[in-house]
Symmetry: D2
Subunit: 479 residues, 4 copies
């Protein structure tokens, strides 16, 4: 997940969230710190923790990785047995502390409300406009503020928090997995389509929420179950939970990029092992695009598991052809920016033993701009590869995501602009194959939810209000 | 190579070195920056670059990773077409800028000399004592200062630099790969036994030196050859080289831990692919310690390649059982230090798909204290593993290294203190096997040098002067 | 107060403290931040704030100035209307976060107690030894822990906090101004002799405590009165206070160095204007050591006010002879440490107009090692001064302070080791005069307390238990 | 010079420059570090050093104070006996490393040129446009690039550096004090009107240049003389100088704000003691605006010397009424930004002894927006002052500066928009007096140059090309 800026050629997720309601007298902030650390792959721009203590909510948040943003002293400052936390990938402009989450708002009457949000309200502007007409003041451009102030409005009308969330949800479209903290309760919410993951576990009998099950395992919690689409779960002081089916939808729509790329391989999401999904994607590619070759390899780290699947299904031996420099991060200086291939060379180097004189199948999880894969093919050829066959463990991106993934905008999408049969040539590969859209379901046999595949198919789970009349618009609403 | 402090349970290398003599008018510092970045795995405590320009040598060095230690402004400050650089793992005390290399010394007459050193002079104290009797003043405890002042003494006597090095070398025992910079020449030196690696390449026709070939590839240089044991190579202004066979020894003794653990898999050292060595070590383990199992896996990242070799040789399928959190670094806060297993949980998590109900062979590259592997066995069992068989891709450590590797001292060595047949039980494994010492040579069929295996066998390549009369001494000198 | 390390030639105070109990619902941390900033001159090594909220106490503390140690995010994390804070000068070893205050301890039964301390318990080791015999565990070497655990012990025995403090105080000797926070009350305490200052004010009707009145003025609070020696003041939830005369002593003993050097000139301590004290000290010097001269000047900044007093009393014009570089701080690099006068030159420069051809009276507040004043005399002579007469606005240091001031140890004291009549010559001055010990009282005509002058007179306010039998001991106990 | 952002109510200078050509073999960078430190008051946004060694120029520059921008390691990296340096106040946007100086440009043929500039070319846009028509490419918006590329163009035409500067200067209008470094020579240049100061001294016989004489004194150099308006001084390798009278003007025009505010009191500029100028300004105010009062005081630090002059001339006693918090810097958090007076309170506090019941004359060096002085008057009244009479040691600002001073733009100038007789009332003072424009010359009796007083008088030393046709334009060109 570490990356050189010039190599950033992958879709970006926005957030990971974590919540815990421990026994009274036991501070939750240290557990939050560990939980966010285990979700770091979901967002590296900022991190924050909010804790409720004695009628008030304290929050500490800053830019950077968890270990940079949250100093040890902050864990001592954040008292309280109930807490929520957030890691964020900032999509617009430079990361700032002001955009970091959890977002804390003061309610009428002095109460406080903290919200941590993973996802994107696709109708945030419309909802916000209506709220502004009612006189509700906004301070940021964030859709999370639309969520928080929407809930606060219902609480101000006298509803208890869980009912306030249920009422406010009725106005929202898009994706939202939330953990919510008031001065005396902790809630978790998942949108009616279940677009972003959210699960629940236990720590010494008390309720813990996390974006992915890996964060429960890594913090010594037990996994209990996923939050259901449209469900509100309230952690009660005695460790029990109250659950509300707040909204239903005709379908479910788990983001298919969670198993393909975002989630950690050791997570199980809605019943489906992420590791197994990637392995199956490789196997599907082997069936759809067989080839004679000497070696199957993956682009580290995100293509490695699919490569194992391709090797197993094809019978071609698995091996590594690229070594990844583990120190690649965000601060690398580019002394010679004019050298276009330098970035790839410094991050990924060929392993001569497995490249020279070999016919190679190389698996990656996705292509966005195509710059990286083009450089990798050239790099392998210079190192003596006889043939390089590229297999991509997802269908081509053809449509923008409206639900919280930062796919580079339409104009940059390789697959949308180059005819499939010429794309292989344009990246210099001997052949190229994408996971067939029709086989997407096959990579998640154990998943209890359906996939959202809008970025591949253009079939958005919500009706699209496209203001763009231009021919170049990629919206093809097919609700 | 990234690690949580509490997990540090591996031998530590000390340094990586890089040197370049480019065309006049072309600054070498940017290339050095990239080269050191590619050698970052050999030392993460400090980094530095020295460049010669117009009769003087400028140096910039600081603690931290290359990207932290060397700011962009430093590359503008370091002019000069000849430069050397160093990354360091600090073995004693806290890292400080003063211990960072290259070490620059002023010579009589005003000339300057910079040295970057990978290795350890085993007779540094004796050599230093003799030099002090001659009135040569020392400012540090570092054996690199012994090397630099030894060369400076010979230059002061009127020898040209390459002859000065040849003369000074006669007094040295132990390991030393060096790059040396004076105001007008660049030298590379490897000790007569070739204990630490060192190779040579070209950038636009000009000479470049590096600890490992991976640093040449990653910086767009071409690999030319390894420096031979006992060889001094001088880069001449026109791009040609002059070579001196400065010393010979009856044997050669490349550190066997270079292919086993230290070096990057994409490096080729003295003819031997590091990747292939690790693969072969796995295969040897499969032959020596076969077992019925469902899955072969490696401890990320250092056991993964050996696991592929074991899988191939045994016919048992390869798969991942542990996911590594890529954000594990040095700054993690330990909110609950009493929780002994927390460190492993946060760094490595079981992949449920491949663990529950499975008989697992787990390969690691080495065991030092045994704490990590014990925790991993327990972690896999809690995740439902039926059996866990541990295979170690190196023989047991039984003797301290005197040539630059920081193996935890004798008293901490698991393998030295626990009888082999009870060690498996003590770490909780169903079985345990080490690479047989007799098969060490078999993992490097293409290597032109012999191995030093003193840490396994007690056969040190130099006579040992052991001042320790106690029974617990692990020295068994067999010159 | 900023200083170049090499110039540090002044006694060092240890701490400043601040406390506030605002209205419920109003967070105190922002006020604490400002209050500590106004007390920054009392300690620059670390800063911290502890706030009580809903039965728990959160604390944030770190090394550095207030603006470095406490980030903006910390103020959001520290909820609660009652808070205490601390700035510290670290006397032993390097500053660390662990030694920063407030110190927070957990009490039996789960309650928490936070203490911020200015002063030094002179019998801390004896009290600690007795408590350890009772089985009370200590984690640090700090006398503040002796205070905190002493109070906690009495609370554990069932006493309310104010009574717990009163009981614990009976065992303590030495200096202690304290602000104390439990989960539901805020206390201020001053030792029976009143060695360190402590005062009380109001913010919107609520109680605020501070080491000096300047911190009340600077934060928009109104000054109410000083805490009396031996008094415990408890801030009650309704804004009223409860006061206990917890201990009495036969005398009072305000540290005379507070008006001479430590306190800010705009503070009024126990009735006495600090500015006026310094002015009077200058006037006393003019009476005791008159001289013919052209100009009276002060060493910036601590000698300037006394110089005004000397000028007024003597009729000699006042003027500046030294300009202070306002950017002198702790991080200055010393490129040429061998240059002994460089440090003074970079910090203080002569103003030619007022130096060349002039007979100068130069006032400083104190002399410790004498190195700085010697360099200043030389610097003025090089700039053309005809005569330099030094006047020191305090008596000579002859005895160590046991109550919280870090005077360099006996062996370094210039005045103790050099006969008064040769000291002028040794520092190169034309004449030298110290404030006569007998006139010390005259500089504080409005002060309600007596002075402690032990460092000048050897008359310690508490009996001295001197373990040092050597002749060189400077202890002359005269209780 | 330290300041809270909200209090920034003073004109801003842009830069300080320093240059040194030491003996061969002696690195100049450590001296540069000290010299820039002594000029820190002229610019706090960034700092940089460029050094020439063996045909190349290395440069290290970064944002922050000298002690922050230039780490110790940079001094080791910057070899070479000739160096120039710069401290900068950034006028536009946020400070960045890219805008820091010295500016280094590569010339045709590979030579390098470094320039450090204090001042502002008023016709930079016109000169740049002409150069761009010739095909010279610009990378920044900086007028310093116009200077550097202008010189480089003449060198490319074959002129030696000193002639290249002379030729390039013919096109420039405005203010420029420069130090210039090529690979083999060091030059200092002052514009024909001498608007910014520049002087010359010696270090061990070698030539040193500095913006102010204080930087020579502070670094142990001897002062030799000021650079004359229009003079180019070249430091020759043997320590001698060559001088060119490159341009002449009918008048000279030293910026009058140098003695009034920018320069350090211990500097002597063109023969005039800065300390004495400020003292005389106070005396002039006493003559022009006498008043009955109990005390004369200055606003720390810039009004203190003028207050001494007023006191002397009026016979009213001098005393301090405001204490300045020495820790006020740029990073202070503003917890309650709505509190308008907080900033002043935290920076400046009344000294009760000298305020309560007193009639006070308070001197400041200048007024720009008037916000600070208004708050100070109110603060003194709240502290019990009976009367507050404000005296300003400079005439009112009525016109923008075109030569390198950042006076807040016309619309913000208090004095330009409020009739003199109502301004006293608007700031709450009992009376108000500015230094009469006609007495400006009287404060610099020893100065060899005339003053530029364009910001007070509108009489600009160069013809003005005003593109602003609006009525609100403050330009009144009177060449």
């Amino acid at each position: 997940m570490e990356r050189l800026t010039v190599l950033q050629d992958k879709p970006q997720d926005h957030c990971g969230i974590f919540g815990a309601g421990l026994c009274p007298g036991q501070d939750a902030a240290p557990l939050l710190y560990e939980g966010l650390f285990a979700l770091q792959h979901r967002g590296q721009e900022s991190a924050g923790i909010a804790a409720a203590q004695g009628g008030r909510i304290g929050v500490y948040k800053d830019v950077g990785l968890v270990t940079q943003a949250i100093p040890r002293a902050a864990l001592d400052a954040l008292t309280g047995n109930m807490a929520i936390g957030h890691v964020r990938y900032s999509t617009t402009g430079r990361p700032t502390r002001d955009n970091a989450q959890p977002l804390v708002v003061r309610m009428q009457g002095g109460g406080m409300l903290a919200v941590a949000h993973n996802g994107n309200l696709s109708n945030a502007q419309q909802v916000k406009a209506r709220m502004q007409q009612e006189g509700i003041p906004f301070e940021t451009q964030s859709d999370t503020e639309v969520i928080a102030l929407g809930i606060a409005r219902e609480i101000a009308r006298g509803l208890p928090p869980e009912e306030a969330v249920r009422t406010a949800m009725q106005a929202w479209e898009g994706s939202y997995s939330l953990v919510i903290l008031t001065q005396d309760t902790l809630l978790a919410v998942r949108d009616p389509l279940g677009i972003r993951p959210l699960c629940m576990g236990r720590k010494e009998g008390r309720v813990v929420f996390a974006s992915e099950s890996c964060a429960l395992t890594a913090t010594g919690c037990t996994f209990e179950r996923d939050i259901r689409p449209g469900e509100i779960v309230q952690a009660l002081p005695d460790g029990s939970i109250r659950t509300l089916e707040a909204a239903t939808a005709k379908r479910t729509a788990l983001c298919s990029f969670e198993p393909i790329y975002f989630a950690r391989p050791d997570s199980i999401i809605d019943g489906q092992s992420v590791y197994h999904s990637r392995f199956l994607a490789g196997a599907e590619l082997a069936h759809a695009y067989p080839v004679e070759a000497d070696l199957v390899a993956g682009v580290p780290d995100s293509g490695l598991i699919a490569a194992l699947g391709y090797a197993k299904a094809s019978g071609i031996p698995y091996g590594d052809v690229l070594n990844k420099n583990r120190y690649v991060g965000r601060t690398f200086i580019q002394p010679n920016p004019q050298d276009r291939t330098r970035g790839v060379r410094l991050k990924l180097s060929p392993i001569p033993q497995n490249v020279a004189g070999k016919r190679i199948v190389l698996i990656d999880d996705s292509i966005v701009r195509g710059t990286t894969i083009t450089q990798l093919v050239a790099l392998l050829r210079r190192a003596g590869a006889l043939q390089v066959h590229i297999r991509i463990a997802s269908p081509p991106f053809l449509h923008p995501c409206l639900y919280g993934i930062d796919v580079p905008t339409g104009g940059q999408l390789v697959a949308a602009h180059v005819a499939p049969d010429t794309l292989a040539a344009s990246i210099g590969a001997d052949s190229l194959g994408f996971l067939p859209l029709g086989r997407l379901k096959a990579i998640a046999p154990d998943c209890r939810l359906d996939f959202c595949d809008a970025c591949f198919s253009g079939r958005y789970p919500y009706p699209i209000r496209c203001d763009n009349q231009a021919e170049s618009c990629h919206c093809h609403p097919q609700p």
